[in-house]
């Protein structure tokens, strides 16, 4: 039953993708990672990040996994979002990156 729902959800929502350049001075390190995962966790959609358009994809809701990506400043961060609130989530995540995670 659960599996059936999951596959229906996947049918209903096509993954949305977008990318943005990390402009904050130190890349996706400690504080930016926490902000990114907090933002991601506030949405129901499945949210993933990658350094290349074809992955490998990393769960954006896990700070440990996001830190393992070690995305430096100047890197292009790709997002893949799947779910009902996907569009809102993607917009919020891109705004966060464009804003340099609110860092100086």
């Amino acid at each position: 039953m659960h599996d059936a729902n999951a596959s229906r959800a996947a049918e209903t929502f096509m993954p949305l993708t977008a990318s943005a350049v990390l402009v904050n001075p130190v890349g996706l390190h400690a504080r930016p990672s926490v902000k990114l995962t907090q933002c991601a966790k506030s949405f129901a959609s499945k949210i993933e990040i990658a350094l290349a358009a074809d992955g490998p994809w990393t769960d954006a809701k896990s700070p440990v996994k996001v830190m393992r990506v070690k995305a430096p400043q100047g890197a292009t961060l790709h997002f893949r979002v799947t779910g009902a609130d996907g569009e809102t989530a993607l917009a919020a995540l891109l705004a966060l990156v464009h804003d340099g995670f609110g860092e100086g």
């Binding site: 402009v23 130190v26 400690a30 504080r31 440990v64 996994k65 830190m67 430096p72 860092e103 100086g104």
Partner: protein
């Protein structure tokens, strides 16, 4: 017993003297249950308890310190962190060993990162690891750091630092560590001197009783001789008095006792250093080191990335002039994939403008980004390590070509004034031969090339003295040429922040200094005491 002098890298400025304290993390042995289910429960409970302990600590701090601890809370709250440990426990490994192995793997991964900012996060992971181990093993955390102590250890965790009271003095002397670590940031914010990279801390016989830390010079002296100590105490007293007097006046212009107005500019390595700074403390930015852009990115930074950073710095300066130095790699600043490896003497090799002219593909990108940014503020461009006029001419031709291309494409840009750093004695001796829009004296290199003595080689460090008459004569000569040609001359090396040299430097005729933000208040106070 003879004093022991150690040289490292400065991570937080200031002077401190106090009892020498070796920080050891005592971890008691733990009795294993031998039952994977019980071991799993023990680790879960330990993680929960450590999280609760962190949450309590977060509530007692604010600002940067809270952010750092919140990062630890987020990491600890993520199941992905302990995944490997729980798998190992299921396979029969005791909880503490499993946790340590999982975290050590994570720590090793961070330690192998190309980017210093990620490497610096290893201290946070060590902190997380030890917090949970302390809970598992049922022992108290490392003994508290006594107030005023000179703490010696390999590296220190942010929470161990925060648990101590630094208001009454004290400092950090670390065998490894990093100036980019969270602890270094906290130490700078709390005014605790910190020196990193001292190498193995060793001594003969008994443990040293006292130590002094010179966070300005990056040195530590164990068991100082009475004479060394007396001299150091005088410096501390003078520094304390100067600091107290200076802080209040840091937004006022710098004026000598006999009424000369001196411009004080800032040296910055990354735009984040400007966060929280009042632009009113300076007359502009005299040196932006662009190496950080190249260190932080895996590849070479593209034009838009560079342009965005330059714009941000111009925005902060709000109309004040900003001097950006083109990439100064090579020498002691290697960049993988760009600088030349295994030169027999990197300081006399392909560095600064020599490297940029050898790699026009990289240089052109930076010049384009600079020309585009120049349309949005008072931007000047400074070339490092120039030795002959042909280098300036070649750079000017490349800049003009890029501006021509930008204009042809209808992209907004402006031609920034192009100046040179005077750090090779040849440039100082023939400054008049250079069609430079300004000169900026790089006193670190000018001193080491003039004196043929590196400052990181302890045995010749005394010779590496910007106050030497030969170096001062080259500075004075450059100032004279600048005056005759009607162009600005500034000094952007570390000597500008060394207030022992302020009188001598002003005597060369210099009227513009560029120093690190933290040095502004003291420099202005020192300038105010100088009478012709």
């Amino acid at each position: 017993m003879a004093e022991i002098r150690l040289t490292g890298r400065t991570a937080s400025p200031g002077l401190a003297l106090g009892p020498f304290t070796v920080l050891a993390t005592a971890v008691a042995a733990r009795t294993e249950t031998g039952d994977p289910a019980q071991e799993t429960a023990a680790l879960l409970a330990a993680i929960e308890a450590a999280t609760a302990e962190l949450a309590d600590l977060v509530a007692t701090v604010e600002g940067d310190a809270a952010d750092i601890l919140e990062f630890q809370v987020a990491m600890l709250g993520d199941d992905a962190l302990a995944e490997g440990a729980f798998d190992a426990i299921t396979a029969g490994i005791p909880a503490d060993h499993a946790w340590r192995a999982a975290l050590d793997a994570e720590i090793a991964d961070y330690g192998a990162a190309d980017d210093e900012h990620f490497r610096a996060r290893t201290a946070d992971l060590v902190d997380i690891r030890d917090r949970v181990l302390a809970q598992l093993n049922g022992v108290d955390r490392a003994a508290a750091i006594p107030a005023g102590a000179i703490v010696a250890c390999d590296d220190i965790s942010p929470s161990a630092f925060l648990a101590a009271d630094w208001s009454g003095g004290g400092a950090l002397a670390l065998a490894s560590g990093s100036p980019s670590s969270h602890v270094a940031m906290l130490a700078r914010a709390r005014g605790a001197p910190m020196v990193v990279g001292l190498g193995p801390l060793s001594w003969e016989g008994r443990i040293p009783a006292t130590a002094l830390v010179d966070g300005d010079a990056g040195t530590v002296i164990l068991d100082p001789e009475p004479e060394t100590r007396r001299h150091f105490e005088q410096r501390m007293a003078a520094a304390a008095a100067a600091r107290a007097a200076a802080e209040a006046d840091s937004t006022k212009p710098a004026i000598t006792a006999d009424g000369r107005r001196i411009a004080v500019l800032l040296n910055v390595a990354a735009p984040e250093e400007l966060a929280g700074l009042d632009p009113a403390i300076c007359d502009g930015i005299g040196l932006v080191r662009t190496e950080f852009l190249f260190e932080a990115s895996r590849g070479l930074p593209d034009e838009d990335t560079q342009y965005a950073v330059y714009r941000r710095i111009l925005d902060w300066a709000a109309g004040r002039p900003v001097t950006i130095r083109t990439l100064d790699a090579g020498g002691d600043k290697p960049i993988p994939g760009l600088t030349v490896d295994r030169e027999s003497n990197p300081f006399l090799g392909v560095r600064g403008i020599r490297l940029s002219l050898a790699r026009p593909d990289v240089f052109r990108v930076q010049l384009r980004a600079l020309a585009r940014a120049a349309a949005h503020g008072v931007l000047k461009v400074m070339l490092p390590m120039v030795a002959v006029p042909a280098e300036l001419a070649a750079a000017a031709a490349l800049l003009d070509a890029e501006i021509g291309a930008l204009e042809a494409s209808g992209i907004a840009c402006a031609r920034p004034p192009l100046g040179i750093m005077v750090e090779v004695p040849a440039a100082a001796l023939r400054a008049e031969d250079f069609a430079a829009a300004f000169y900026s004296i790089g006193s670190n290199d000018l001193t080491q090339y003039t004196m043929a003595a590196a400052r990181d080689i302890g045995a010749v460090a005394d010779l590496n003295d910007t106050g030497n008459p030969a170096v001062l004569a080259l500075i004075a000569r450059t100032v004279e040429v600048g005056r005759a040609r009607g162009v600005e001359v500034s000094l952007c090396g570390d000597a500008g922040a060394d207030t022992r040299l302020t009188t001598a430097l002003l005597a060369t005729g210099l009227t513009t200094f560029s120093v690190a933000p933290v040095a502004v208040a003291q420099l202005k106070a020192a300038i105010a005491t100088v009478n012709r």
